[in-house]
């Protein structure tokens, strides 16, 4: 960090940590016991107190060491924020009603956010028109490698978006056996393998899956101990948003790990498509409701998507939105249903690949993030 703080070195040593909290245009500074940060609820109360907004529902975010704006909404990510803050914990507070979720996520504080906003939010949630800069409006992701940071390097988690495309998934699986290292030495264990890729199919066109790749998980569920038919049924049941974790037969193309890669996006070297942001937590929720879009035709009218039932008292759209996002993951910041909320382009950014991951200053950006 270029900007050094007076208490910087000392605060760590003394066990206290300086917090700089911003709400709207106002800043508050206070310090916390680094070793005893307490609970998130208390921290939340403290923030409401210092900003004198006791009854306002707010979203709390912080800038992590890479300059990403990440949310604080539970004990876990609060502790993470406290433990990684060096030397200053920078907090950003937004009112819930005005919250801009797209602000959160990878590199969000260091890049122009409007691309993401554009991508992640369906039109009806948009607060104001954004200018499309580089991506065609109808761009759709077809596949991505996800969770690179939490998987062993030998594994690859691939997400295939059947959504909206007429391309067949186009692959076959078979039974086979693989060698595992177990406490009893090497053991041959039965496994499920990709046996064939259909030319022109989604699987083949992405280049992320290959014949003889071993399938380890389907949408977060381990396949070991399951029969070929069971795995087939699981894949078909998830076919609209299929996430397969494989051990590639060819290990040479593995993602090169970069400690600077923040968030969870990774990009395969042979893929021109771009990573898609995912929550960093390993508790990534797989039951994304990509098939929630059941259709109803009432009285022979026009087909409509079936909405989710909303508790009657909280029919405000924004609140419903929050409900959803809290349900879908611990972090609760990337609405994991965004895939179906936004059939349009997803989180992609050509810049992210080329950007040097250096320590840029956080810059003031629009109404939300200011330093």
């Amino acid at each position: 960090m270029n900007r050094s703080h007076r208490h910087g070195a000392g605060s760590g040593y003394l066990g206290t940590m300086e917090v700089k909290s911003k709400f709207g245009a106002e800043f508050r500074r206070f310090s916390l016991e680094r070793s005893k940060p307490g609970k998130f609820e208390e921290f939340y109360g403290l923030l409401q107190h210092v900003h004198k907004i006791p009854n306002v529902d707010v979203l709390v975010g912080y800038a992590d060491i890479h300059g990403d704006l990440l949310p604080i909404n539970n004990d876990d990510n609060y502790h993470k924020a406290v433990s990684t803050a060096n030397p200053l914990l920078r907090i950003f507070i937004q009112k819930k009603e005005e919250a801009d979720y797209s602000a959160f996520g990878t590199d969000t504080l260091t890049k122009k956010k409007n691309v993401l906003t554009n991508v992640l939010r369906p039109d009806n949630h948009r607060k104001k028109p954004h200018i499309v800069i580089s991506m065609p409006q109808d761009f759709r992701p077809v596949s991505s490698i996800i969770d690179v940071d939490i998987l062993p390097e030998t594994h690859r988690r691939v997400r295939l978006y059947k959504y909206g495309t007429e391309k067949p998934l186009g692959f076959y699986i078979r039974d086979g056996s693989s060698v595992r290292v177990t406490p009893h030495g090497l053991e041959k264990v039965p496994g499920i393998f990709i046996s064939r890729l259909v030319p022109g199919g989604l699987a083949q066109s992405t280049g992320l899956l290959a014949v003889n790749d071993e399938v380890l998980e389907v949408n977060g569920i381990e396949v070991s101990g399951k029969s070929l038919d069971q795995v087939t049924d699981m894949m078909i049941a998830n076919s609209r948003n299929l996430i397969i974790t494989v051990r590639p037969a060819n290990q040479r193309n593995n993602v090169v790990r970069n400690s600077r890669t923040s968030g969870s996006s990774g990009q395969s070297t042979d893929n021109s498509l771009h990573g898609y942001t995912q929550p960093t937590e390993s508790s990534f929720q797989f039951d994304e409701d990509s098939d929630e879009d059941d259709i109803i035709i009432e009285d022979n009218g026009a087909p409509q998507q079936i909405p989710k039932a909303v508790p009657a008292a909280e029919s405000l759209e924004s609140l419903a939105q929050i409900e959803l996002s809290f349900e879908s993951g611990q972090n609760g910041f990337i609405p994991s249903n965004e895939v179906n909320l936004a059939p349009g382009p997803s989180g992609t950014n050509t810049e992210s690949e080329t950007r040097a991951p250096d320590h840029k200053l956080l810059e003031e950006d629009g109404t939300i993030i200011t330093l």
Partner: protein, 1028 residues
């Protein structure tokens, strides 16, 4: 975060789950598959049957109705012989691996159970051929300690029971017999294997040994000498010793039998002339013979086989000759063994046989020998469920007494040809409590019949048989089956038994059944698109069944049905008392009816095929509407089942060829041989065989592809459901019909049923109100509406009969749609997604059967919950909670490879279920702690009866599993001897109080240990409740 809080089991809920759910396989109904041996104990009056059904061998025993035991051999071998030990609760089985097993009926906690005690394999002496000890005959000696074993070598070995200790010094070797024979009888090779071993009926020191070459000797056990010997010119098959020991009857391979008087002085008696009952032309062997004396003088000769080889050699016959009466009972399946029930007291002067028990391959037949004409006795158990293959089943719980009695009355008129004799095999005491309610299991069969079974208790008893055949004109001559042989015909064959697997017309097959227990309306649907609505009539009637035609294709053009023709309805038909059809709905095209629903209050019947569904007002006999569900591109569904089969075959063949072609290129360089061979073979067969071989080489692949709307059979209607709910708006509820298809579509029609007084005047109207397309497109297998309290809507007329609370119409209703992959709850009337459970995505299993069941608590009377009982394609049964869709428990029930078992599963309304474990047997299982139907019975031998103590205190400490569970199933030991407890408790008030105090004191602490006692006490209350 909410999700985070939810995780972790709630101890209170876990406890409740233990009180509600429990998995047990309780009893097998029907006839044992592939029986291979029969045993009977005259003193216990018990019957035992051994089977050879692949992996599991069993030796079930049967006595009085409700008295059933099951024992499983650990070995995977067929049971060859079963012998009860005289007067004891023990039996010995011989398996086809030459091992002997001793089983005992042990009384534990007041219930008998069958347990294997000991097993034994006869060891051959060093150097002897293995056949030397291959056991051919087993004779349990009346001393109860010795077992004589005849072998292939001709030696008779002796083992001591119960330890199976071989007594080598007592062996009756063929050499020893040879030496003690007079010179002239010592032929070479007179011995060979032992075919018969009999103990002298009066003198336990004499045994008869019959050798296959025709030599029969009577051996003195004490003096080790030959008392008598007879030499027949024909190969010996079996012998029978007359009750007084003065006459020996031998039967032979040429179809003759021979009588040998045994008198004190002559060592080699001369035979009376041999008699060939079905001669003079060559006959088949008589394999077993009974010679039974009667007080009145004329003996009964009963034998198996002996039919003229050329003209009747293929018949499975048992002949009974009594004076001038002679009948050859002609069985529809192979006769495994038979026995005659006669006077059990060995000291009685005459046999006086009263019943003939025949174990055929597919059924057990008992014939009354006391009544002229020898009528059949209707068995109370071991019913041949598969007399025509079972095509579907339907279970109705808690039948009102009125309907029950009417069905029984109708059924009793059908069984007039049966003997009035009480079931003669009546050993043991049934201790099971009277069934708490009357349950009906309806099975539909391939031959167009529906059988009504009493499924309330352990014995599955046939109550009534309905045939839909008379409604239609078929090629079969209805009189053909009744055709009896004339008086003068020879041999005097008489067809017996109900097993008749041949269907006259496959279109008659029953596919769906729906019975309304309150109104007695029954709907039955079949293979050729026929739907019959029947009502119970206590009088015979003659009328024409009114026809309604439902054209499910409506105005769809250009489709051609290539399947079977529809059945032609006959003119006026005479109907017996019972269920009589009054409306016939004929679907066009006449495809298999795939779903059926009947609403007896609204008088509507809904039916679906692979083309669509329709609704018929059976009161006005008028079609209300039809809806075509076909996807325009689904050509296959239109062409009918025949072409579908063909195309499958064709595609298989094509894929074989494709594989072969790809292989062929790799094989080209190999020097001739295999490819050359192929060319010379019959092309088709060889190609397929080669294809099969190659299939094994190529790994099994599965295509991963999302379902699309274009997949075949998307229009196939899987489920239909009537509900009175809020379909249009939340202010008015109305009748509605729901249909779910194979392609994940749900259609909802709102109905307008005219009020009762104008029911015949105004038409029923229907209007499509909703159509839901599940985007995962999995087949919809269940639709259900939950009322304002999230309780499933009651059945039609249930409320009217005061058997259910009226549904809550105040709160908002919810719609539950169960697809093969997911459970989803939607709100009504505005459809919005509320909850879901993705089964396939999480487990890889798919829903095969789903049904609402009420689970009563075993602990709290009157407490119960409605949940979904689910069977998956992996054979697991699960309980999924309502309305929150939380998986509660899961048990593996059916082997996942057992496709027909999974397909046949049917759930009851109270958490039990049935599935076919073989074509002829239903396994009953229970997911409920409260509703268990399982055999509890007691068998005591004459001696133990006298000593048995009136109350059995020790039994309270241990719960008992039945023998069949003791091996593999851990739940076995959890079984509680409920009724026995009742039995014991009634005798002992002190114990009753003790148990009650434990019950009360236990409410707080619930360790596993006191689980048993709690359940015992519950068993008590249950059986009391049963009496209400």
């Amino acid at each position: 975060m909410r999700r985070f809080l939810r995780s972790g089991p709630d101890p209170e809920r876990e406890r409740l789950k233990r009180e509600l759910f429990q998995f047990n396989k309780t009893v097998e109904h029907g006839f044992p598959h592939q029986p291979s041996a029969l045993g009977y104990s005259p003193s216990l009056r018990l019957l035992a049957i051994g089977t050879r059904s692949g992996a599991i061998k069993s030796a079930p025993s049967y006595g009085a109705p409700g008295v059933e035991f099951m024992g499983l051999h650990r070995e995977n071998n067929a049971v060859v012989q079963i012998h009860f030990l005289l007067g004891q609760c023990q039996l010995v089985t011989l398996l086809d691996d030459n091992s002997l097993h001793l089983w005992s009926l042990k009384v534990k906690a007041g219930v008998s159970e069958l347990q294997e005690e000991e097993s034994f394999t006869l060891r051959s002496p060093p150097g002897a051929a293995p056949s030397a000890t291959q056991i051919t005959v087993v004779l349990p000696h009346s001393s109860r300690e010795l077992l004589y074993l005849g072998t292939e070598s001709g030696d008779v070995f002796v083992v001591q029971l119960p330890a199976f200790r071989a007594l080598e010094d007592k062996t009756v070797s063929s050499d020893a017999v040879l030496q003690r024979l007079p010179e002239e009888a010592r032929h070479r090779r007179v011995f060979e294997m032992v075919e018969a071993l009999q103990e002298h009926p009066r003198d336990p020191n004499q045994i008869l040994v019959g050798y296959s070459r025709g030599l029969v000797v009577v051996w003195d056990l004490r003096g080790s000498r030959v008392l008598y010997h007879f030499l027949s010119s024909q190969q010996l098959e079996n012998v029978c010793w007359q009750r007084d020991g003065c006459l020996i009857v031998s039967c032979h391979s040429d179809g003759s039998y021979c009588q040998w008087p045994v008198s004190g002085d002559v060592q080699q008696p001369e035979p009376l002339p041999s008699y060939m009952p079905y001669g003079p032309f060559p006959c088949k062997a008589i394999t077993k013979i009974f010679w039974l004396t009667t007080k009145k003088g004329l003996p009964f000769t009963i034998f198996q086989g002996g039919m003229p080889r050329a003209s009747y050699g293929d018949r499975h016959c048992i002949s009974v000759i009594h004076g001038s009466q002679q009948t050859a009972f002609d069985f529809t399946s192979r006769v495994i063994d038979f026995t005659v029930l006669a006077e059990a007291d060995p000291t009685a002067a005459f046999d006086d046989p009263y019943a003939l028990v025949v174990l055929a391959e597919e059924e057990l037949v008992v014939i009354d020998l006391k009544v002229a004409g020898w009528p059949l006795v209707q068995p109370p158990y071991l019913a041949s469920l598969h007399c025509s293959a079972i095509t579907c089943s339907h279970h109705v719980s808690n039948i009102p007494l009125k309907l029950w009695e009417r069905v029984i009355t109708a059924g009793s008129r059908q069984s007039t040809q049966f003997s009035s004799m009480e079931w003669p095999i009546d050993g043991g005491t049934n201790l099971a409590p009277a069934p708490p309610q009357r349950d009906l299991l309806l099975t539909g069969h391939e031959d167009g019949t529906v059988r009504f079974w009493d499924a309330s208790g352990v014995c599955l008893r046939l109550l009534y048989k309905l045939s839909t055949v008379p409604v239609f004109l078929t090629d079969a001559d209805p009189n053909e089956s009744l055709h009896t042989q004339g008086e003068d015909e020879w041999p005097p064959l008489r067809k017996v038994g109900s097993f008749d697997p041949y269907s006259d017309d496959p279109r008659l097959g029953i596919q769906k059944i729906f019975l309304c227990k309150y109104s007695g309306y029954l709907a039955v649907a079949g293979t050729a698109g026929q739907v019959l609505v029947l009502e119970l009539n206590d009088e015979a009637a003659e009328h024409t069944v009114e026809q309604v035609e439902a054209d499910l294709l409506q105005d769809q053009e250009g489709y051609r049905w290539k399947g079977h023709e529809r059945l032609c309805a006959a003119g006026p038909v005479h109907f017996e008392p019972g269920f009589q059809p009054f409306v016939l709905v004929q679907c066009q095209p006449p495809a298999v009816v795939t779903s059926l629903a009947l609403h007896s209050e609204w008088r509507l019947v809904a039916f679906g095929t692979s083309h669509g569904f329709g609704l018929v007002d059976h009161q006005q006999r008028r079609q209300v509407f039809v809806k075509c569900t076909l996807h325009p591109s689904d050509q296959l569904a239109l062409e009918g089942p025949l072409s579908r089969v063909k195309s499958l075959k064709k595609s298989l063949r094509q894929s074989f060829r494709r594989i072969r072609r790809s292989r062929a290129s790799t094989r080209k360089r190999r020097p001739a041989g295999l490819p050359g061979e192929v060319r010379h073979e019959v092309p088709e067969a060889k190609t397929e065989r080669a294809g099969l071989q190659n299939m094994e080489l190529a790994p099994v692949q599965r295509k991963i592809e999302a379902r699309s709307a274009e997949d075949s059979f998307t229009g196939f209607v899987r489920t239909l459901y009537f509900a009175d709910t809020y379909l249009r708006d939340s202010s008015r509820h109305c009748p509605s019909l729901w249909a779910g298809t194979n392609g994940g579509t749900v259609y909802a029609f709102s109905l307008r049923v005219p009020p009762a007084e104008r029911r015949m005047d105004e038409p029923v109207r229907a209007e499509q109100t909703k159509e839901i397309q599940l985007m995962h497109r999995a087949p919809v297998v269940g639709i259900l509406v939950l009322d304002g309290h999230s309780v499933p809507l009651p059945e039609p007329l249930e409320v009217a009969h005061d058997l259910s609370k009226s549904p809550d119409m105040q709160g908002s209703h919810q719609l539950l749609v169960v697809s093969e992959e997911q459970f989803k709850v939607f709100t009504l009337p505005k459809v919005s997604a509320k909850l879901k459970l993705k089964l396939t995505a999480l487990e890889g299993s798919r829903v095969r059967r789903v049904s609402v069941a009420h689970f009563g608590s075993c602990r709290t009377e009157d407490y119960g919950e409605h949940h979904l009982a689910v069977l998956t394609n992996l054979g697991d049964v699960q309980v999924v909670s309502l309305p929150l869709l939380k998986p509660q428990v899961r048990f593996s029930c059916i082997r996942r490879e057992d496709v027909s078992g999974i397909a046949s599963c049917v759930f009851t309304k109270y958490g039990q279920g049935f599935y076919l474990i073989s074509p002829s047997e239903f396994e009953r299982f229970s997911l409920s702690t409260k509703w268990l139907v399982e055999p509890r019975c007691l068998v005591e031998s004459a001696e133990t009866k006298n000593h048995s103590c009136p109350h059995n205190g020790a039994g309270h400490e241990k719960a008992v599993g039945r023998a069949r569970n003791s091996g593999s199933q851990s739940d076995g030991e959890e079984r509680m001897p409920g009724p026995v407890m009742e039995h014991a408790l009634l005798n002992d008030e002190r114990v009753l109080k003790e148990i009650q105090s434990t019950l009360e004191g236990d409410r707080a602490c619930r360790s596993y240990g006191d689980w048993h006692s709690r359940r015992m006490a519950v068993g008590y209350s249950l059986s009391n409740g049963g009496g209400k």
